[in-house]
C-alpha cells in the first residue's frame, strides 16, 4: 500500500520532469555560435546571391536545432547547421570566383580586340600616309608637266592667237583641273618690251583671258580660273636678245 502511493506520485513527476526538461533545454554554445555564423552569412549579399539554397538549408537546420527535444539532437543539429553555413560561405566564394573569372576573360578579350584595332588603325594610317604621298607626287608631276608644256606655248606676234600645234599645255591643264576639282589656277600673262607698255599690258591680259576661255569652253568652272595680264613689268630674262625676249613672252601658272 505504501509503495503504491509512492509510485502514484512518482510516475507523473517523472513524466512532468521529462517534458519540462525538453522545453527548457539549455542551448549549447555550439548552437549559439552556429546561429551567429548564420546571421553573418545571411546578411552578406554575395552569399545571398550565390548560395541562397545552402543558406536556406542552414536556416531550417538551425530552427530544428533550437526546437530539438534532446541535448544530443540539438548539439548534432547545431553541428550540421554550422557545417551548412560554412558550405554556403564556400559555395558563394566559388560563385564569386567564377564570376570574377568570367569578367577577367572578357577583359582579356577586350584587350586583345583593342590591341588588334590599334594595329589595324596604325596600319591603315601608314597606308593612308603612303597613298597621300603618292597622290601628292602625282599632283606635283602633273603640275610640272603642265608648266613644261606652257614653257613651249607660242602666240602669233602681237596677237592673242596661238601658234597652231601649241595647245598641248592647255589640254594638259584642262585634264588636270578635271582630275583635281578642288584646285584653282591663276594664269599670268607676260610680254617682252617690244611695243608700248600699255599695249603690252592689254596684250598679256588678252592672252591670259584667251587661255581661260579655252578652259571654260572645255567645261572648267570659270570661278576656278583667274587671268591676269602683267604686260612687260615682270621680265625673267634680258629683253636685249632674241632668246631673252622669247623667255619673257610667257604664260605663268600658279596652282592653288
Amino acid at each position: 500500500m505504501n509503495t503504491m502511493t509512492v509510485k502514484k506520485l512518482l510516475i507523473p513527476a517523472i513524466i512532468t520532469t521529462l517534458a519540462v526538461g525538453c522545453a527548457e533545454l539549455q542551448k549549447p554554445k555550439s548552437l549559439l555560435e552556429a546561429q551567429q555564423a548564420y546571421k553573418a552569412a545571411a546578411s552578406n549579399p554575395a552569399i545571398q546571391r550565390y548560395a541562397a539554397d545552402e543558406l536556406s538549408k542552414a536556416n531550417t537546420t538551425l530552427l530544428d536545432a533550437a526546437a530539438a527535444e534532446s541535448v544530443e539532437d540539438m548539439t548534432s543539429l547545431a553541428y550540421i547547421g554550422n557545417a551548412q553555413v560554412e558550405t554556403a560561405v564556400n559555395t558563394a566564394a566559388a560563385g564569386q570566383s567564377r564570376q570574377n573569372s568570367i569578367n577577367l576573360m572578357s577583359k582579356k578579350e577586350q584587350l586583345i580586340t583593342d590591341s588588334l584595332n590599334l594595329k589595324k588603325d596604325a596600319a591603315k594610317n601608314q597606308l593612308d600616309a603612303a597613298q597621300n604621298r603618292l597622290l601628292k607626287m602625282q599632283l606635283l608631276e602633273a603640275e610640272r608637266e603642265i608648266l613644261l608644256a606652257f614653257g613651249n606655248i607660242e602666240f602669233v606676234t602681237g596677237t592673242a592667237d596661238l601658234v597652231p600645234g601649241a595647245s598641248t599645255g592647255i589640254d594638259l591643264l584642262a585634264s588636270y583641273m578635271e582630275k583635281y576639282p578642288d584646285k584653282k589656277v591663276t594664269l599670268e600673262g607676260h610680254t617682252d618690251n617690244t611695243g608700248s607698255a600699255e599695249r603690252n599690258m592689254e596684250l598679256s591680259q588678252k592672252r591670259a583671258d584667251y587661255i581661260r576661255n579655252v578652259l571654260i569652253s572645255k567645261g572648267i568652272a570659270a570661278g576656278r580660273i583667274t587671268a591676269i595680264g602683267y604686260g612687260q613689268s615682270q621680265p625673267v630674262a634680258s629683253n636685249s636678245s632674241q632668246a631673252g625676249r622669247q623667255k619673257n613672252r610667257r604664260i605663268d601658272i600658279k596652282f592653288n
Binding site: I14, S76, Q84, E86, N90, A93, A94, S97, K108, S115
Partner: protein, 122 residues
C-alpha cells in the same frame, strides 16, 4: 500471486517504460539509407579532389561515417543516424570548399594571364 493491485502496477510500469523509450528515441530503425547517402557524399567529395582542397573536412566526414557504422552495429541507431547526418554535412562542406578552392585557383590563373597579356601589349 497476481492481485489486481499488482496487475495495475505492471501496466503502469510498462507505460512508463514505453514513454521513456519514445522520448529517448531508442526505437528507431537502423539508418542504412542515411549511412549510404553519407558514404556517397564522401565519395563525391573525394572524386572532385577534396583530398587536396579540404583534407580536414574530408577526414571529419570519414571519421563520422566510420563511427556511424560502428554505432549501428551496436544497435545504437539514433547515434548512428546523427553521425551519418553530420558526416553528410561535412562531406557537403568538403565539396563546397573544394569547388571554392578550384574556382579561386582558376581565377588567380586568369588574373596572371591577364597581367601577362597586359605586359605583352605594352
Amino acid at each position: 500471486m497476481f492481485t489486481k493491485k499488482n496487475t495495475a502496477s505492471l501496466i503502469k510500469t510498462t507505460a512508463l517504460s514505453a514513454a521513456v523509450l519514445v522520448l529517448t528515441g531508442c526505437g528507431i530503425a537502423a539508418p542504412k539509407a542515411e549511412i549510404a547517402y553519407a558514404e556517397a557524399t564522401l565519395q563525391s567529395a573525394r572524386n572532385i579532389g577534396a583530398n587536396e582542397y579540404a583534407p580536414v573536412e574530408l577526414e571529419r566526414a570519414k571519421n563520422k561515417l566510420q563511427q556511424a557504422k560502428s554505432e549501428m552495429k551496436e544497435g545504437k541507431n539514433e547515434d548512428a543516424l546523427r553521425l551519418a547526418k553530420e558526416s553528410t554535412a561535412d562531406g557537403n562542406l568538403a565539396q563546397a570548399k573544394t569547388e571554392a578552392g578550384k574556382a579561386s585557383a582558376s581565377e588567380k590563373q586568369m588574373q596572371q594571364s591577364l597581367e601577362m597579356l597586359k605586359s605583352q601589349l605594352k
